[in-house]
């Protein structure tokens, strides 16, 4: 150690070298394309044309009054919502069962591994698989329905808006509830045992403990799941794009925002400018929704704000663990 200051300066430079590749790649290949996309939304750039001009907010004015955009946007919310609510509910229920000491379930790990499996499979392949399984008139589902006598003749699922939406939502549910289950299980495992002990001392029953201890303590992880699932759901593309005719039919029922955006940019007249405006609009709407979710749900039941109450932790326990909890909320 020749000179402490010199060493520190040298180490600081070394630190930059270590993070440099990340920073360069992030700026050039992720941030710049995002800004470029926003900027293209302010132009009239389409097709092969080399010269395009700045048109201000024209695309956005069009976007706000574009009935198809709003239809696509509400389709996306609807499909995400239909898949998310059972996803969260079931994951919560399963996680509670798994952590229940009275039930003492065996092979939990195996069940969780199976529930999670669909999440790893190629979404594009899953879309083709389900399209083939529900095929009219003689895909396996129709064969099973007719053979079981539940229907006299085969049913054309992909001619029916409601069924098509439900199938897409089901696939999203099917691919994601295992993931949600694992996240919630980890959340439950992280709840301090002392909370349940004090609830038992206060005479709480199972239902009350779930309501007053488990649920509030899981709020942060559930909020995280909600927001990330919403952000991901708003980008839904592979399955609604591939499962029917790539235009979101029947009747535009599974036309999601991402499918609408893709079709503007990469089919027909290649309207990159308008597709960029859609992308920007979707980003603004998604961010607003995410911020609202945080604003509405955050902190009211954050562990550090639990108040000593009937079934909650004792005041002394809260004081003892306050620092610890602060440290854990990343």
């Amino acid at each position: 150690m020749r000179n402490a200051l010199g060493t520190r300066a040298r180490l600081e430079r070394q630190g930059y070298l270590f993070v440099l590749p990340f920073v360069v790649a992030f700026l050039a290949l992720q941030l710049y394309p995002i800004i470029y996309t926003f900027a293209l939304g302010l132009t009239d750039f389409r097709g092969m044309s080399r010269n395009f001009k700045f048109v201000g907010l024209e695309n956005f004015v069009h976007l706000v009054s574009d009935a198809y955009f709003w239809k696509a946007f509400s389709n996306t919310w609807l499909i995400w919502g239909i898949s998310f609510i059972p996803q969260l509910g079931l994951a919560l229920l399963f996680a509670v069962w798994c952590s229940d000491v009275r039930l003492r379930l065996k092979a939990q790990g195996l069940f969780k591994a199976i529930f999670y499996l669909p999440n790893l499979l190629t979404a594009a392949s899953i879309a083709v698989l389900y399209a083939t399984l529900f095929y009219y008139p003689n895909g396996p589902i129709n064969q099973a329905l007719v053979q079981a006598g539940m229907r006299d003749v085969a049913f054309n699922f992909f001619r029916d808006s409601t069924f098509t939406r439900l199938i897409v939502a089901f696939i999203q549910f099917w691919m994601w509830y295992g993931h949600t289950l694992i996240m919630i299980s980890a959340g439950i495992a992280g709840i301090p045992v002392a909370l349940y002990e004090s609830a038992v001392i206060d005479g709480a029953n199972a239902r009350q403990m779930f309501r007053h201890v488990t649920l509030p303590m899981l709020k942060p992880v559930m909020l995280y799941i909600l927001v990330t699932s919403m952000i991901g759901g708003m980008q839904m593309f592979d399955i609604p794009y591939l499962i029917t005719n790539r235009r979101g039919d029947p009747d535009g029922s599974i036309l999601t925002t991402a499918v609408y955006l893709y079709n503007h940019a990469f089919t027909g007249s290649n309207n990159y400018a308008y597709a960029s405006a859609i992308s920007t609009g979707l980003f603004l709407l998604t961010s607003t929704a995410a911020i609202l979710m945080y604003a509405v749900m955050r902190d009211r039941h954050h562990p550090s704000q639990l108040r000593p109450g009937k079934f909650g932790p004792s005041a002394a326990w809260l004081r003892r663990n306050a620092v610890h909890e602060e440290g854990r909320a990343r």
Partner: protein, 281 residues
């Protein structure tokens, strides 16, 4: 399991097993049907359900591959891209995480905040701009734009940094410095073995993420010889394969079976990875 709570909500063990079995079937049956039908003739598939495999796999393979699309090639394209993406993502993320963990430098806090925010940003957000940029750089139909962006994988950095915090003692690094080892040498020879488990976990997620990625290669690649597996699988939904069900199922199986095999060996690590990191892929 510590005896902590009794949240049975009134259900018996048997009932819970029944529910779990039902949902396990829900995951397994579509995959099982796909595997079975991949070995059955199109005629048999159209006639009715079967839970037993057929012997037409060779015939289906022909039906799948005689329409001008090279599935084997697609398989190796996907494998190459996924392996390269994984190597790039994991190595550079480890470097970044180590840089953030061991060194003090100005802007470090900003960088860390950026990483935490960017995790929430969907990767498709800048897709149009990315496409235009690659067109200008004449990098359409190249694997480079599918691989290089992985150099900045915020979720992987986050995961490896959390791991570094719990396992790497700074004394070890100091001792190596005293011996005169360069910082990169310390990183490559001393640090990477210590964080190998975290790198392996993230490698799994990078690999699967890249293997499954459909939209980015779909937008960037147009040369049929460069097609990835998901791009070939989507062709099964077109008129080219109209009613060749045996071939269609087999094509889907080609993209899914490698993941099934992989998962059979790695499920423990994969599930632990989600649990520890809380990282959404």
């Amino acid at each position: 399991m510590i005896s902590r709570h009794r949240l049975g909500l009134g259900l018996s063990r048997t009932a819970v097993y029944a529910v779990f079995t039902f949902f396990a079937m829900l995951a397994v049956v579509p995959i099982y049907l796909m595997l079975i039908n991949a070995t059955r003739s199109t005629e048999a598939i159209q006639q009715g359900l079967s839970l037993l495999p057929g012997n037409q796999i060779a015939h289906n393979w022909k039906a799948l591959t005689n329409r001008g699309f090279n599935i084997t090639r697609g398989f190796f394209n996907s494998a190459f891209i996924a392996l390269a993406t994984t190597a790039v993502a994991v190595y550079f993320s480890a470097m970044t995480a180590y840089g953030l963990h061991v060194f003090q430098f100005r802007g470090k806090k900003v960088l860390w905040s950026v990483i935490l925010v960017v995790i929430m940003v969907p990767p498709q957000l800048g897709l149009i701009g990315f496409y235009r940029m690659m067109a200008q750089l004449k990098l359409l139909d190249s694997f480079v734009p599918l691989i290089l962006p992985a150099m900045a994988s915020p979720a992987t950095v986050l995961f490896i940094r959390q791991y570094l915090k719990s396992v790497l003692s700074l004394e070890l690094v100091e001792a190596a410095r005293m011996d005169g080892a360069s910082e990169f040498r310390i990183f490559n020879t001393i640090v990477t073995p210590v964080i190998a488990p975290a790198m392996a976990t993230m490698a799994i997620f990078s690999f699967v993420g890249s293997w499954n990625n459909f939209i980015t290669p779909y937008i960037l690649l147009s040369d049929k010889d460069k097609y990835t597996l998901p791009m070939l699988v989507q062709l099964l939904r077109t008129d080219i394969y109209r009613t060749e069900y045996g071939g269609i199922y087999l094509g889907i199986a080609v993209s899914i079976v490698p993941i099934l095999v992989f998962y059979a060996f790695m499920s423990r690590h994969i599930i632990a990875g989600i649990t520890i990191g809380g990282v959404k892929e």
